[in-house]
């Protein structure tokens, strides 16, 4: 079995059959990590071999004694480093949290552990998930496994690269404005952002609290559905967690989609969309057409306005969320400071990177006296209008299809000093966050035969089953990309 491409379903079957052991998965992962990490730098922390092998052995023993029911049992999962885990550092890619150890596991980690999954390590990200390239990590950028000169997207760039490079079988990311879907598209993997409130945010270091969701990055739609089923569900410790039973997304994955009406926003084909991306998405839609009831044009008139609305709301929330990093109870403290205010200012001024400071300042401004109505409140109203637009659109269609990103992966360093250009990478993804909708990016081919591209689907709130069902059928037509050929040499079979 080629462990760099195998799906979780295939691996679980092999584990059940006894032809593969969880210890093999650990060995494979550690070998590939050792081989590829110097170039990719997808991880900020990989757990030690002994612990992983011990847990893998326990998992194998449990399986032999019939104590395993979850398909995730014994499978190492990579975790974005803004998700709190006991026993490893949790840094959110920031200097200010260097060496920080969480006193508790995030709810998603509790759920993964309950399903028998192994926590492999912590993945690189843009500092506090603020960015679209993973260049904003205080610990250095992650590179795109398809082209080391290019970014993997962000902010879950480490998670995406780990899956794309075949180092991880699946990974958790977080998505505030596209941070799962955009890197998934740029690295050729599947990325799911669930409905706001479906996956507990407890233990996710908050960026934009009303927008953040945790979700899987995976090798295929079915794997994403498996992980989603494992981490979704009401959490009484998250007041924004929905108390709605959504059922298993896996169970309906292969049901027919011939009654599904697909809406494509006219605004998708606007300024800034790379011609190669457009061609690839149009071709993907052509392939989907025969399988569904219809593909029609719809309107999302405020798609363009979603960028300012998003950046004002997200940064306003972030400006408060990041106030707790003050050097008092944990994390970095500037010890030169003589006064309290100096300690705050120097700790935060030196502990945060430029993009994080930029966003804290923008958000502080948006909330400050005299600007609140014009910025924060107005952005919230535009957000409301965007949500209403989606509700209207879903009266005439069941899912919405559009590009995942305006361009393929861009060169490292190209956009880092140009916030507006960088923010435009989120054009197609942030509306789903503003409206709280589930959305998924799946690979739809290669740009110039070299760089992966993604196409995106959105569905009404809590309709993950429908979303994943359409995505699964579409994926069957488009095919998955597998591992980049350039890094496949020497990789491969566990046996």
């Amino acid at each position: 079995m080629d462990l760099t491409r195998a799906t979780i379903t295939e691996i679980a079957a092999a584990l059940d059959a006894g032809s593969l052991a969880s210890t093999d998965l650990v060995e494979h992962t550690l070998r590939e990590t050792g081989r590829l990490e110097p170039e990719v730098h997808a991880f900020l922390h990989v757990r030690d071999r002994e612990s992983l092998l011990r847990e893998a052995k326990e998992s194998d023993a449990a399986r032999r004694s019939g104590g395993v029911t979850s398909p995730l049992a014994g499978i190492p999962v990579a975790i974005k480093d803004n998700i709190c885990t006991i026993g490893t550092p949790t840094t959110a890619g920031s200097r200010i949290l260097e060496g920080f150890q969480s006193a508790y596991d995030a709810t998603v980690i509790e759920k993964l552990k309950a399903a028998g999954a192994l926590i492999l390590g912590k993945c690189n990200l843009d500092e506090f998930a603020m960015g679209s390239s993973t260049e904003n990590s205080a610990y250095g950028p992650t590179t795109n496994p398809w082209d080391p000169a290019r970014v993997p997207g962000g902010s879950s760039g480490g998670s995406a690269a780990a899956v794309a490079a075949g180092m991880a079988f699946t990974a958790l990311g977080s998505d505030t404005g596209g941070s799962i879907r955009q890197p998934a598209a740029l690295t050729g993997v599947v990325g799911l952002k669930p409905t706001y409130g479906t996956v507990s945010r407890r233990g996710l270091i908050a960026f934009g609290s009303s927008l953040d969701q945790i979700g899987p990055l995976a090798r295929c739609v079915a794997d994403a559905a498996l992980v989603f089923d494992a981490i979704a569900g009401n959490d009484p410790r998250d007041a924004t967690s929905a108390d709605i039973a959504t059922g298993s997304a896996c169970d309906t994955l292969h049901d027919s989609i011939d009654t599904i009406r697909v809406g494509v926003p006219r605004q998708s084909w606007g300024e800034g969309l790379d011609a190669g991306v457009e061609a690839s998405v149009r071709s993907a839609l052509d392939q989907l057409g025969p399988a569904v009831a219809e593909i029609t044009a719809i309107d999302l008139p405020l798609l363009e306005a979603s960028i300012p609305a998003y950046y004002l709301v997200a940064t306003a929330e972030a400006s408060a969320n990041l106030s707790r990093f003050d050097g008092v109870r944990y994390g970095l403290r500037d010890k030169q400071a003589g006064t309290l205010d100096e300690m705050y200012k120097r700790t935060r001024g030196h502990g945060f990177g430029t993009e994080v400071k930029r966003r804290i300042l923008l958000g502080t401004h948006a909330l400050s006296s005299g600007y609140y109505d014009a910025y924060y409140l107005r952005a919230m109203k535009v957000r409301r209008k965007i949500a209403d637009d989606f509700a209207r659109a879903f009266e005439t269609c069941d899912v919405i299809a559009l590009p995942a990103t305006p361009t393929p992966a861009f060169p490292i360093g190209e956009q880092i000093d140009d916030p507006i250009t960088m923010y435009r990478n989120d054009l197609y993804t942030i509306a789903a966050n503003l409206a709280g909708l589930p959305a998924i990016s799946i690979p739809c081919g290669l740009h110039d035969d070299t760089l992966p591209l993604g196409v995106q689907l959105m569905a009404p709130r809590f309709e993950e089953s429908r979303l994943l069902r359409v995505a699964s059928h579409w994926e069957a037509k488009l095919g998955t990309l597998g591992r980049p050929p350039r890094i496949s040499a020497n990789g491969g079979d566990a046996r």
């Binding site: 969480s102 998250d238 306003a316 408060a320 707790r324 109870r329």
Partner: protein
């Protein structure tokens, strides 16, 4: 001619709610624990944590609103109030801003007048920072109090005198205690008062520049602090000066309001709706359930004390004046089932001592201990006069009454021989009074009895002594 000024006062009272746990996490809400032992990731503001609202805190806020005649909003919204301070771990306080849980209402002043309320809102308390003895360059932070549920009760700026502010606070405290919303312990900070004070020429309606007076942590401090602040402002205005908008702190030791560090710029708290908490929606059923669970209010309790314990109306009124005292009385009676004696003791020695100590709170004596003392008295082990001495010692030392009786040598003397000797000595020493008694002045008996008690240091059993004294005097008629 001189301008006369009138004061415009608004009070902001923070009351800690009597919940078992904090407002947004499962840490205990308890005073006096070692520092930073009632804390968890949530109230420490660790990365990734989320608040979940305590149901009891909501119920108690509604209950306070009911008791004060407020409108309870069916939808209220939590907001973040942003500022940096070491006792505020998240860098924002979760409070309510433009949509509080209660609006309107009033606090009675006890004389028929009442003060309108603006609102009551729910919020979390902050921790505490200390400055170690001997100054030093550092402060110490304890976060046990951080996240304790509070309601802030905001009055309209319609209070006109320090005296009315005092009455407002007394009556508010009584209602909050009665409804078991807050234990009212000002010394421990369960109930805290800030005052906004401004002056304006009598007859005008525009508000003058106000100052905020903090640290009014007793009834006395509230009255004295506001009086002093009014006087300070009046002096400035009369002298042609202007009032600076600033925050003052009441220095109870020196008896003056002291300006706190003047901020270079006004606070900008950047309130915005708390994204981690959806709005609080209250159904009619919920509101009804809270109303049904409302504890006994003062009038009902006074009537019950008369019927259940056979107390006179006046006594019942005194004993139900505060919920604490009423609760204390009922606990005493549970262990010492003689309501008349318990009531007499509380109305007499107990309240007298409390008044002497100028405290707003109960004396540091457990009701069970007082019940023991009353039982000793009733059983004849100690005389009522000696009992008062034991009681005072109990307040001072916290020791058990039986131990104190022994320790102080106050066992009651009932022995006839010993008492007859004392009586004979007293009569011999006071021939004038004896003559007066024999001449028909019954009143003198009281004086002589007092002398006898004095000679026994209060230990003589009055049940034995009274007939003995009379018999000895009668015997002198010959």
């Amino acid at each position: 001619m001189t301008t006369h000024y009138e004061a415009v006062i608004g009070l902001e009272v923070h009351a800690q709610l009597m919940t078992r746990t904090k407002i947004f996490c499962g840490c205990e809400n308890r005073f006096g624990a070692p520092p930073n032992t009632l804390v968890c990731p949530v109230c420490l503001g660790m990365p990734g944590v989320l608040p979940v609202l305590n149901e009891r805190a909501v119920e108690l806020a509604i209950r306070a609103g009911n008791a004060l005649g407020c409108d309870i909003r069916s939808r209220s919204v939590f907001a973040r109030k942003n500022y940096f301070y070491p006792d505020l771990p998240k860098g924002y306080q979760i409070s309510q801003f433009d949509q509080p849980v209660c609006e309107g209402g009033h606090v009675p002043l006890g004389d028929g007048r009442s003060i309108e309320l603006t609102r009551i809102h729910l919020e979390e308390d902050a921790g505490k920072s200390f400055h170690p003895e001997g100054g030093g360059e550092h402060s110490l932070v304890d976060l046990n109090r951080c996240g304790v549920p509070l309601i802030e009760i905001v009055s309209e700026p319609v209070i006109r005198s320090a005296e009315d502010a005092y009455s407002y606070l007394v009556n508010l405290k009584r209602i909050l205690e009665y409804t078991e919303v807050c234990d009212g312990n000002m010394e421990q900070g369960s109930l805290r008062c800030d005052a906004n004070v401004s002056l304006r020429p009598v007859g005008t309606t525009t508000l003058g520049t106000k100052t905020e007076l903090k640290n009014l942590n007793s009834f006395r401090a509230t009255r004295l602090g506001i009086e002093a602040e009014i006087a300070r402002q009046e002096k400035i205005l009369t002298g042609g000066g202007t009032i600076r908008q600033e925050t003052m702190q009441w220095d109870a030791d020196r008896g003056v309001p002291v300006p706190m560090r003047s901020k270079e710029e006004a606070h900008d708290y950047r309130y915005f709706p708390e994204p981690d908490l959806p709005p609080l929606l209250l159904s009619q059923e919920k509101l009804r359930a809270v109303r049904d669970a409302m504890p006994e209010l003062p009038d009902a309790k006074r009537e019950r004390f008369q019927t259940e314990y056979g107390l006179r109306e006046y006594d019942a009124g005194v004993l139900t004046d505060s919920a604490q005292l009423a609760r204390f009385f009922e606990t005493v009676v549970k262990h010492f089932p003689h309501a008349d004696r318990a009531a007499n003791f509380l109305m007499g020695p107990y309240l007298r001592l409390q008044k002497e100590q100028e405290g707003d709170d109960l004396l540091p004596v457990e009701p069970e201990a007082l019940a023991q003392l009353l039982a000793l008295e009733k059983g004849g082990a100690v005389s009522p006069a000696a009992g008062r001495q034991v009681f005072e010692a109990m307040v001072r030392t916290g020791k058990a009454p039986a131990d104190l009786v022994k320790e102080l040598g106050l066992e009651q003397i009932s022995d006839d021989g010993a008492l007859q000797t004392v009586v004979d000595e007293v009569l011999a020493a006071n021939p004038e009074q004896v003559a007066e008694f024999l001449g028909g002045k019954e009143k003198v008996l009281g004086f002589l009895m007092g002398q006898v008690m004095k000679a026994t240091r209060g230990k003589g059993n009055p049940g034995v002594l009274t007939p003995m004294l009379r018999a000895s005097l009668e015997a002198k008629r010959g």
